[in-house]
Symmetry: C2
Subunit: 451 residues, 2 copies
């Protein structure tokens, strides 16, 4: 009997997160205070983050223990399955072995819950009563709503308007878990009002929504801010994915030649590939491919430079690939990939040449997703659809060359709330957005000057 899913018992779930920082060949560039351009201090961050997360952000410890209470919640859906994509392989006629690590089994439907639970936990421990956050596609907002609900915190979500309108079910899901969700830009913050004054019909962006949530958190003592990607501690929490995948690949007696995932802020894919990085640094020749949308090609087209994480310039300055913090990406369905920047850790590894990047249009991404759904059953979210397209291309290249490569895909979540996009695709009405060169040049011209 062939094994389709490689499962782990709850006893095999990792009990620590893996921190890449001590293993980096060069340390991460310094993060700067946006007001002074001096290195940011823990004190600069404590208005919006609990001290434990600030420590994790800067930690040089290789392993950080996962608190028991967080492990208890993780076990509601973790360890997540690793699947062998036999049906897809057969349909492609490829000798390649395709595996996918599926995070869609969490109640919120994606990998985001891994950090949401941890962040809600540490904030509760610090005496915080309420978290404010942004969400793009709604995956992160849902996950934090769940995390806050399970930890007994209030939750306020600023949801990028383009997604808020496309995905009403995501709002209801957040409300089902007791959160409040409003479209961003909103009239409730200075940042939101400033954008609306310039463009009353603004579709919003993650950069704008982050500004709103940070402003909300900074203005209230009982409230902290929570970010669903980009930051080091978020990458850290996601490493449960890759640690499990390593054990599962071992059980399948396999090792990846290529690891492929989508990147918006970078946390889902980093969560999968970071635990493999020590092998790569020791000389294992695997390729690691980051897939991003052509409409928001941060790593494939952007410079590696200091920028803000949000549109209003409230966050620290981080060195990263960026299209400029004022860039508002076109309304592609993969809301989670509509971000101007990229996690400093992912950017750093890319800059060092340890990982690659590619950009993909959404129509071929949906073609890949449809093939996946019709063979593997699972209907993927639009974000990993971009990675699936690249997996299929690599598998077809193997068919051409006769190589039986082992491919590992980060399948970050399901597309149950993205079916209107499938409807558009199936009815032939899905459009692609060309590389928005002029808008990007304009936003790059507005990059902060860091000396």
């Amino acid at each position: 009997m062939r094994t389709t899913k490689i499962t782990l018992t709850e006893q095999e779930m990792p009990t620590s997160w893996y921190n890449i920082q001590p293993d980096l060949p060069e340390p991460l560039p310094t993060v700067l205070n946006p007001a002074t351009c001096k290195p940011v201090t823990p004190g600069d961050l404590k208005a919006i983050f609990p001290m434990t997360l600030i420590e994790q952000e800067m930690s040089q410890e290789r392993y950080i223990e996962i608190p028991d209470e967080v492990q208890d919640i993780y076990r509601m859906w973790r360890p997540t399955p690793l699947h062998r994509a036999y049906q897809l392989e057969k349909a492609l006629g490829t000798p390649a072995k395709i595996f996918y690590k599926y995070e869609g089994v969490s109640p919120a439907g994606s990998h985001k819950s891994n950090t949401a639970i941890a962040q809600a936990y540490y904030n509760k421990k610090a005496g915080i009563k309420r978290l404010a956050t942004e969400t793009g596609a709604g995956q992160w907002g849902s996950a934090l709503s769940l995390g806050c609900c399970l930890m007994g915190l209030e939750c306020k979500v600023y949801m990028v308007r383009a997604s808020y309108e496309q995905k009403p079910y995501r709002r209801i899901m957040m409300e089902t878990w007791g959160a409040t969700c409003i479209p961003s830009p909103s009239k409730e913050t200075n940042s939101g009002r400033a954008v609306l004054a310039q463009d009353p019909d603004s579709p919003g962006s993650l950069g704008i929504a982050i500004s709103e949530a940070v402003e909300d958190a900074a203005g209230r003592d009982d409230t902290n801010y929570s970010l669903g990607s980009v930051l080091n501690h978020v990458m850290l929490h996601q490493t449960v994915i890759g640690q499990e995948a390593i054990k599962q690949m071992e059980k399948a007696d396999a090792y990846p030649d290529i690891i492929i995932g989508c990147v918006g802020g970078g946390s889902n894919f980093a969560g999968l590939f970071l635990p493999f990085m020590p092998d790569k640094l020791k000389g294992k020749g695997m390729r690691i491919i980051c897939c991003e949308p052509k409409a928001c090609p941060t790593m494939t087209k952007g410079p590696y430079t200091y920028d803000y994480g949000d549109v209003a310039g409230l966050t620290p300055l981080m060195k990263m690939y960026t299209l400029g913090h004022s860039f508002v990406p076109p309304r592609i369905h993969a809301g989670g990939l509509r971000y101007h920047g990229m996690a400093p850790i992912v950017s750093h590894l890319h800059h060092l040449g340890l990982i690659e990047s590619m950009s993909i249009h959404q129509t071929p991404a949906y073609e890949g997703a449809l093939k996946f759904a019709r063979t593997e059953g699972i209907i993927p979210a639009p974000e990993p659809a971009h990675a699936i397209k690249v997996v299929i291309d690599e598998a077809l290249a193997c068919k051409e060359s006769g190589e039986a490569k082992t491919i590992l895909l980060a399948l970050s979540g399901h597309g149950h709330f993205d079916l209107s996009a499938y409807n558009e695709f199936l009815s032939g009405n899905l459009q692609d957005y060309e590389y928005p060169q002029e808008k990007i040049l304009k936003s790059l011209a507005a990059l902060p000057k860091v000396t």
Copy 2:
């Protein structure tokens, strides 16, 4: 470390289905040909079913082997997890131990895939190219679309109009898997046109949609009909649920005092409890509670008598609890529970006093579902929400009495496509429907005369 999910390996998945028929204390009443009122013969059924399924319908074999190709597909999501509901128990402050067997991990989101894959397989083996079916809430239509897609068959789904309008995402899901889905009553069949002539705004019912699908299948040589519940072979295929649950409860060192599930046609709950029935017949005192909506109280209010499975009287006459085949239930959100009849096997066991029934309004069902979502994370479908309400009541009774009973819940699927109903509930706009006595008396008056 406490264990939250009791998982099984793929090697522990059952390789046979369990057939209750040889273990019944009295045989099932004879099924009758609707035209002659004589016992139905295999030949009567072969216009719309493949012979293997007809044989399973009448089989007296205790175990029927699951074909390898069906097992291969099952392993895409099976074995499904058994969860211990620690967070719900804690929130209720009950000494009861609550377990739930969760079928929502299938790509189509419910238990329905267990029989969909098997039915598509046997039809393919019989040379059939296309299946026609009905769907209520969309769970069954989605599952059969997936089954047909994976087996390479065409699929036509007649979807009850009330649900078709409430749940557009379900239609898109079916189309993503390549099926065609239209609202029922439709103008494409005589049965549909007859209903529309009487009531152009008919919300439809499972009984009407079944008539349309049976008529479609009977009229084309390349097409068979596929039913998602009620029939013996459907109950049979669902017994993988209960067989897994028995092994999982053993691993948890527990045994259920009460098993609770929702019943529409009866297959999800039968799938869970039938494999426990031999213990019950040997004298184990466990209670088995079937939960149905007050708006469609088949077992709690209907007579046990011969009736058709569909509104047009095309199906065989089966002895079952029924509200009359012409009864159109109110538009409750639990579309899967809007059925006038009940599986003959479930009806028979109820008539013999081996299982109980209760009816529940949808508002308290959603109250229970919300408590479940806010403690266990998973957002339940409206159908099992009815069972969750009864689980909570039983757990609170344990709190009162101090008894630490073990409760096992059939959590048949998730509510990702039912969030508009949660929205209605959260905004205080959900209404209950009183027992529709007059309509039921009228439809009972139209029961067929069987001598």
